[in-house]
Symmetry: C2
Subunit: 231 residues, 2 copies
DNA sequence: CCAATACTTCGACCTCGCTCGAAGCATTCG
DNA sequence: CGAATGCTTCGAGCGAGGTCGAAGTATTGG
């Protein structure tokens, strides 16, 4: 039973509040500079630098030098999945372990997860697509049906073009930490998310992974997926 | 971006080597006494007691008093999933973060995960069942086909009886940390595991979640699922 | 080339929490 | 009841590591 040392090293890295804030901030897949991360974590640049080099050395983060900036991002989706699973446990814990969290409601409603959507909105979309037979989600993959392909084409998403140039997982489920049910990830999830930004259906909320659904988006999602309009 | 404090509290608990060893030891779903956990973690009973009360307070573990013993087990499968996902990250990290791990190979080959099987053996079984159309695995569940029901009956597993008395997830996939592919969990996975022990196909390796495939098991698994025999 | 910006390294401080010895309950057993 | 076992509480020691000021190294821009 000697797995402990392995996982404790990783967990220790996530266990510091400053580092945990940095990792949370990076969960949407964007790359941020060391100074931005220092500010978000609430520590000085010196301290942030020390934290970031530890995270990079353990390969939880990857770094890219660009001019005088140094950009950090999560090293792999596996790291994001780990963070999501820790959040899932934190959510269920006793109240004193999860003090009120401003902005938490916005995150639960709709947010980005790497390049695709998550939260109630995303789970609703995935449910609708499955219910109408537009997609099939299996545990290690999934596919878009002919009907689904036409439906998505109506929204301006060309499934054929995506499939052609993609090596990555095409269409796969991703467990949503706030809803505990799967939403749509993979190339199709990313395309859907990108298209929603393009159509002005959703907008990023400053300094957060949360997104807000615009008035146009409310109608758009309602019409496209039969979700309850908000306005 | 204030999720940091939440996850850091949980991660800090896992970040101590002694606690991580205890949690690892409990990952097979068994309940162990405080003294056993103290020994496995390599600390004195006093120290273990302090660790265990912290883990219980955070609801990572649940405790049950029985006579003068106190039994601890993982509070929920969510905790186990979190530990698995941390292991998955630890596995991919740089070599200095994963020193040689005696018994690791045995764990990768075959082990228990709560009440079902995991590791190469389990992934092979799940693959075979899916390939032969005996089960269907979807992201949030799955089912046993008529052919699968007959096939499992041949092994002495009565799917009908299981389905009748089960409220829990009947048949669902579970991500394998060592193989990074799904294996079979839920009531069907548990029944398969129990039957394999019953038939003497597998045996527990002392003080470990790993199991060894017996000579009989090698033939049994080969015949039942078309896996490569080991002997 | 000098100033400004972005980031890192060094060093010192200081707190947090892991650790175990000793002592104290609770339960069981002879 | 008294001894043994299982576990917890208390208290003190001590080391690891987070923190920031000061100084040092890149890179950019005027």
């Amino acid at each position: 039973m000697r797995a402990g040392p392995h996982i404790s090293q990783i967990a220790t890295l996530v266990g510091d509040p400053a580092r945990a804030n940095m990792l949370s901030a990076l969960m949407d897949g964007r790359a941020l500079t060391a100074t931005e991360l220092a500010y978000l974590a609430g520590v000085t640049p010196q301290t942030a630098s020390s934290h970031l080099s530890k995270l990079a050395e353990a390969e939880l983060l990857s770094q890219a030098k660009q001019g005088r900036h140094r950009y950090y991002r999560l090293a792999s989706p596996l790291v994001g999945q780990m963070l999501e699973s820790i959040m899932a446990v934190a959510e269920t814990g006793p109240a004193r372990y999860r003090p009120h969290w401003k902005g938490g409601e916005a995150l639960r409603a709709a947010r980005t997860c790497y390049d695709h959507l998550a939260g109630r909105l995303a789970v609703g979309i995935a449910d609708a697509l499955v219910a109408h037979g537009h997609i099939v989600l299996a545990d290690d993959g999934g596919e878009v049906t002919a009907a689904g392909q036409m439906h998505l084409a109506d929204l301006g998403i060309d499934i054929g073009a995506i499939a052609a140039r993609q090596r990555r997982a095409f269409c796969r489920p991703c467990l949503d930490w706030s809803e505990r049910r799967p939403h749509l990830a993979g190339a199709v999830g990313a395309a859907l998310c990108a298209r929603a930004f393009e159509l002005g259906w959703i907008e990023r909320i400053k300094d957060s992974r949360a997104v807000s659904v615009t008035r146009a988006g409310s109608h758009g999602f309602a019409q496209a997926f039969g979700l309850q309009p908000l306005y």
